[in-house]
């Protein structure tokens, strides 16, 4: 299609682009603008008052505002790092179990794993709040049967965030397993056979053939996992409301609390902008790392 078609293209693009402009781009621009203003969310935009970088100075400052924000930032970072570090290896391990042809049950496992991903978060949150219950929950009972020390799960500041990570891993690992299986099926069987003929054992085949060839899948999985983890909101809002003692107060929940509940739109926007920048930087770093790895090969 060599000829240019500006007019029909404009017509075709108008609905989607217009809607995304009104409901994504304009709000995003406003967020950036508001991050430089003092503004109450309950009033119109015309009441905003320019304060320069004061909001950013406040959220990184030594006051309560700053302390709360930094706690939330660290919580989100820890949550994201833990989630990705657990989900990615598990998804490959489960992917290998689903993909292998030696024993039956691969498809069954994929179905079970993916079904957890289809359960709405509100149901997951409620079931896990019950599973985690220190006295009447089954998880501690199982730990007792196995002779292991029980855990306070969501009711202790030390373990609450990790418990939310576990919940997230349980719900999302099925999706990433499906991605891993898709990556595994793209590895040509001939390459693995050639390695076998050359005398490579299964561990070597995995480390030197399968894993490197999964690179692109892993990069994609990592990006999606990071984005999902940074956006964690529902389990915190539904189960812990950020507690105990702010140990599960993640950024999304904190931004909503400051920006909507406390109506401090300027501060909330500054936090949102910081979150956006952090996300852009970490994903750019991930892509740079992947490119450097590819160039090094």
């Amino acid at each position: 299609m060599a000829h240019r078609m500006n007019l029909p293209a404009f017509g075709m693009l108008a609905p989607a682009t217009g809607l995304i402009a009104v409901f994504v781009f304009i709000p995003m621009a406003l967020t950036i603008w508001l991050s430089l203003q003092a503004w109450s969310t309950q009033t119109g935009f015309e009441t905003a008052r320019f304060v320069g970088l004061q909001n950013f100075i406040d959220i990184f400052g030594p006051t309560t505002v700053g302390r709360d924000f930094k706690t939330a930032l660290i919580n989100t970072a820890v949550y994201t790092a833990l989630s990705v570090a657990i989900i990615l290896p598990l998804s490959i391990a489960f992917g290998l179990l689903v993909h292998q042809k030696l024993a039956p049950g691969g498809v069954f496992l994929r179905t079970v794993l993916f079904s957890t991903y289809m359960v709405p978060m509100i149901a997951v949150a409620l079931v896990f709040s019950k599973l985690y219950s220190p006295t009447e929950g089954p998880l501690n009972q199982i730990l007792q049967w196995l002779g292991l020390p029980t855990s306070a799960w969501l009711s202790s500041p030390q373990t609450a965030l990790a418990s939310i990570v576990l919940l997230n891993v349980w719900q999302q690992v099925g999706y990433f397993t499906v991605l891993a299986v898709a990556g595994l099926t793209q590895i040509p069987a001939a390459v693995l056979e050639a390695a076998t003929v050359d005398g490579a054992n299964p561990v070597q085949r995995f480390a030197y053939i399968t894993l490197p060839l999964l690179g692109n899948t892993l990069l994609f999985s990592a990006v999606i996992a990071i984005i999902n983890a940074v956006q964690v909101f529902e389990p915190v809002a539904l189960i812990t409301q950020g507690g105990p003692v702010d140990s599960t107060n993640v950024l999304t929940y904190h931004i909503r609390r400051v920006g909507i509940e406390r109506a401090q739109g300027g501060l909330g926007s500054a936090m949102a902008v910081t979150l956006m920048l952090a996300l852009v930087v970490s994903i750019a770093a991930l892509f740079a790392f992947a490119q450097a790895r590819e160039a090094g090969e």
């Binding site: 299609m1 000829h3 240019r4 500006n6 029909p8 293209a9 404009f10 017509g11 075709m12 693009l13 609905p15 989607a16 682009t17 809607l19 995304i20 009104v22 994504v24 781009f25 304009i26 709000p27 995003m28 967020t31 508001l34 969310t41 119109g44 935009f45 179990l97 030696l102 024993a103 049950g105 691969g106 079970v112 794993l113 079904s115 957890t116 289809m118 709405p120 509100i122 149901a123 997951v124 409620l126 079931v127 019950k130 599973l131 006295t135 009447e136 089954p138 009972q141 984005i227 956006q231 909101f233 529902e234 809002a237 999304t252 931004i255 920006g259 909507i260 926007s269 949102a272 956006m276």
Partner: protein, 324 residues
């Protein structure tokens, strides 16, 4: 030599691999049981009495399973209205995302226009934008549009999204240009071309990918993220007055634990609407799957493509001749 060439009996091969197979099978069963456990616990608990759900140590299997909890759900929630609301949200947003994504995806896949690639890149970048970043201004924009406290306020921001455009573009790129050119030569308008030639060609592929991806990524997630806004927006729209109109209150109510079965997939109106939609899409797919295969197989066979275009032309003109 003959011995070497004799195929190893299947039984012996099986015996040699048996320990490994048993290990893999055990792993599969273990992982499946761990993954299914919370789901099983959810179903079991929905059949327990209130006393059993609170007992220490926990009761695993209810002594006398009863459906009381399911009956109570109807008392606590005005199910009809909630189901209707969720159904409206699901159907309107999914249909709108379908149409807007189809149009934009077609433009990106088959048109050549200025700033196409930068525009596509900018749109795709919004896929990575956490909804929370736009939440605070969105809260007021929806108010400026006069959509506060209405279903329209929940639906409006979800009528188009980048993921849908991306998906459609990928699929439409697979539709042969010859097919589109043939229809264009016949004088089909661009919109008609899109809905009568391109859409049927990509629907089978969509039927497979769209529901799972779109439903999770675009609809449920965003609808749930919008819950933040919804405390203000949906006060009058969602459910029973005793719940103060907030879906979020379902879990926090005194009978909270009993009520959670509402969110079981079988009871979730969004999931149900989606499964309806899925089966409708599948029916469409069945009707055109032969057509799709023909398209895929003929991709590089210009003669046959042109023959089909001629057939399409013939059918078009015969249809036109039938018209008064």
């Amino acid at each position: 030599m003959i011995e070497v060439l004799t195929p190893r009996p299947a039984l012996e091969r099986w015996r040699r691999r048996a320990p490994l197979n048993a290990l893999i099978l055990t792993l599969i069963i273990f992982v499946a049981v761990v993954a299914a456990f919370p789901l099983a616990w959810m179903v079991l608990t929905s059949l327990k009495t209130p006393q059993e759900t609170m007992s220490v140590p926990p009761v695993w299997v209810p002594a006398s399973p009863s459906l009381d909890a399911y009956r109570k759900v109807a008392d606590v929630l005005s199910l009809g209205r909630s189901f209707l609301n969720s159904g409206i949200i699901a159907l309107v947003t999914t249909t709108a995302i379908d149409v807007t994504s189809l149009m934009a995806g077609y433009a990106f896949a088959k048109y050549d226009f200025r700033f196409r690639d930068p525009l596509f890149a900018i749109l795709i970048a919004t896929m990575f934008l956490p909804p929370i970043v736009t939440l605070i201004p969105l809260y007021r924009i929806v108010g400026y549009l006069g959509l506060n406290a209405s279903l329209a306020g929940v639906v409006a921001p979800n009528l188009a999204n980048a993921f849908g455009i991306f998906l459609m573009r990928q699929f439409i790129r697979g539709v042969p240009n010859e097919l589109i050119e043939a229809a264009r030569l016949d004088g089909a308008s661009e919109l008609r071309l899109l809905f009568q030639i391109v859409a049927p060609a990509v629907f089978p592929a969509l039927a497979a990918h769209f529901p799972t991806n779109m439903q999770r990524e675009a609809m449920l997630k965003f609808a749930e993220a919008l819950d933040c806004v919804s405390t203000a927006l949906r006060r009058d729209e969602c459910g029973d007055p005793r719940l103060n109109g907030r879906r979020g209150h379902i879990y926090a109510s005194p009978e909270g634990y009993q009520i959670y079965v509402v969110a079981h997939p079988d009871f979730n109106p969004i999931e149900r609407a989606i499964s309806k939609l899925k089966s409708a899409l599948r029916r469409l797919a069945e009707r055109t799957v032969a057509g799709l295969f023909a398209i895929l197989q003929d991709d590089h066979d210009r003669d046959r493509v042109q023959a089909r275009a001629a057939r399409v032309r013939a059918r078009r003109s015969s249809l036109g001749a039938d018209r008064p």
